[in-house]
Amino acid sequence: MTDRAWRPAGALAFLVVLAVFPQVFTNATVSTIAVDTLIFAAAAVAWNIFSGYTGYISLGHAVFFGAGAYTVGIAARAWHTNGDAVFVLLVPAAAVAGGLAVPLGLIALRVRRHTFVVITIAFFFIAQLTATNLSVTGGSSGILAPSPNWEAATFNDPFYYVALGLLVLVTAGSWLIRRSRFGLQLRAIRDDEDRAAGLGVRTMPVKLTAFVISAVVTGVAGGLWFFFIGQAIPQFAFDPLFDLSVVVMAFFGGLGTISGPVLGALVIEPAQQWLTLQYSNEYLSEILLGALFLLVIIGLPRGVIPTAAELVAKFRARRQAVPGAAAGDMAAGAAAGAADGDADGEEARAAREAAREAGR
């Protein structure tokens, strides 16, 4: 299908745009927002690998984000790391976040739905309190990042390209996982965990693996964010707004899709940053942000990508089904095929129904 050939080309073009972006827009405010957006995009894709694919909604991924941030901070202080070398500390950040995810996952993944959500929130508060009360994390005054020594004019560029690299890696990972047997098992768990278990999916190890992968990437994103912002204090390293933002980004683009979280981050993070810059003293940004989130949740309940895929499928089905009733089956097949790339079974079913109607 033309659709298939078109997709990698689109992704490549998009990547080129992202790669030249800091060369074109050299304004410091713009590039700061751009770096933030890329970091959040990576975190949203990582969140989606676990929550989007398995249906276990985690509202505690800030634990891994903050763990990554503090790991880079503590390691840099202990080993006197400076400049480019700090980026190497993203490796221990990944290890700590991943290591933390194993026991947390073993506890939380025993329960489902609401209970799971609440447990992840509890983890979040435990992490925040721990960071506030321990001396190694600097208590409530937090920990400072080593200030990088590179040039002021292109200061944001190294952060930008590392963040872009992370985003590309995690998106590629998300794509590979979705196509793999492992991804299929994850989505089987989302649709019906008991049946998946009955069909031989070893649910606990599968869920835990996704949880750990997701945590590792979130930890790296947190470490990078810390180095970029220059400071970590408990309220911002473990930020309840981080949890909410990442989830809304994934929902905006489409839960469980590959490009959805990226799209969501590209729209929501700049909007959020802009609101904060514009209205931070008035607390109006918080009200507007909440309103924006509500708008996304109520206005686009299934996300942009699945809704768009469905519209395209319907449109094609209608066009192809014109010759008569006999074409109905063919159109249904085509529509289902069109919908199956990024969208899911549900969308494919909707498209098939649309095709059947059109064929009548």
């Binding site: 509202l59 489902r112 609401h114 209970t115 309190l129 009360n133 008035e282 109006l284 918080e286 989130f293």
Partner: protein
């Protein structure tokens, strides 16, 4: 030491009554609507600010003010349910409603910041500062009044749920929504009213929280909701008796740990939660797999 423990237990039980009231609202909403109202924490703070505004600007007594704030919070609750929770449909309804409630919480927090600023305020009244000599130590009157009121409210909720026609339809909806609809219960109305009641109790809880917490600001909602969530999960989601028991258990445990380390006392909530769930995933009084899922 023995005296401190004794005091901590009394503190815990009295404080637990207040948390129980707030948690019952949350668990009731869960039972009927199958959603976690994550805005409950900030709604408690909103209730506290309403009492604050009434007492500071109109010089209305805190307890008399409840006659205004309880209906006001009921209306706010019904409005939130009608506007933001009801329109949600489809497979992801549960998680969407959680996010919607979160967004509502964010909006309320922003509004409170704009109206009252970030400074901590306390609710003042003669019975907040004066104490009664009881069982060998001093206790502010507000704890006694508050505890009595909390018990009365929980009893009223119990009567409403178990002795009225409306209560029967609420319980029917909690058990099986489709079946409730089939026997002619207006499930939408039950959901809206339940949400309203669940939020209305935050007016009472908020007043008590504002008078006993030693100061609150718009940011206090996070701390509250995290405790309330821990309580209702520990008690078993949807179980009213469980919420009561868990509230008293948690606040007592916190007060006891507070004796040797105030910094870590709050963590007790979550550690207890994690420990209990490791042993009993459905919570202490959970209804087994059907609800625990």
């Amino acid at each position: 030491m023995g005296r401190q423990v004794y005091e901590a237990i009394v503190d815990g039980i009295l404080g637990g009554g207040i948390y129980a009231l707030m948690a019952v609202g949350l668990t009731l909403i869960f039972g009927v609507l199958d959603i976690i109202n994550i805005a409950q924490g900030i709604l408690v703070v909103l209730g506290a600010y309403l009492s604050y505004a009434l007492s500071v600007h109109l010089h209305i007594d805190l307890f008399v003010g409840l006659l205004i704030t309880v209906p006001a919070m009921f209306v706010i609750g019904v409005a939130i349910q009608w506007l933001f929770i009801r329109p949600l449909r489809g497979r992801e309804r549960t998680s969407m409603s959680l996010l919607a409630a979160y967004a509502v919480a964010l909006i309320i927090e922003g509004i409170l910041y704009r109206l009252f600023g970030p400074t901590y305020v306390v609710l003042k009244a003669s019975y907040v500062t004066s104490s009664v000599h009881l069982f060998g130590f001093y206790l502010p009157y507000i704890y006694l009044y508050g505890f009595a009121l909390a018990v009365a409210c929980v009893a009223a909720l119990y009567l409403l749920l178990y002795r009225t026609r409306f209560g029967r339809s609420v319980r029917a909806t909690m058990q099986n929504q489709t079946a409730a609809r089939l026997v002619g219960i207006d499930v939408n109305r039950v959901a809206a009213v339940t949400f309203g009641i669940g939020v209305a109790v935050t007016a009472v809880g908020g007043m008590m929280f504002g008078a006993t917490s030693g100061g609150f600001n718009p940011n206090s909602g996070y701390d509250l909701i995290s405790r309330l969530l821990a309580i209702i999960i520990l008690g078993g989601l949807g179980s009213i008796g469980g919420a009561l028991a868990a509230a008293v258990f948690m606040t007592t445990a916190e007060a006891l740990v507070d004796i040797w380390s105030p910094d870590w006392a709050v963590v007790v909530f979550y550690v207890a939660l994690v420990l209990v769930l490791t042993l009993r995933p459905a919570g202490l009084f959970g209804r087994g797999p059907a609800r625990a899922q």
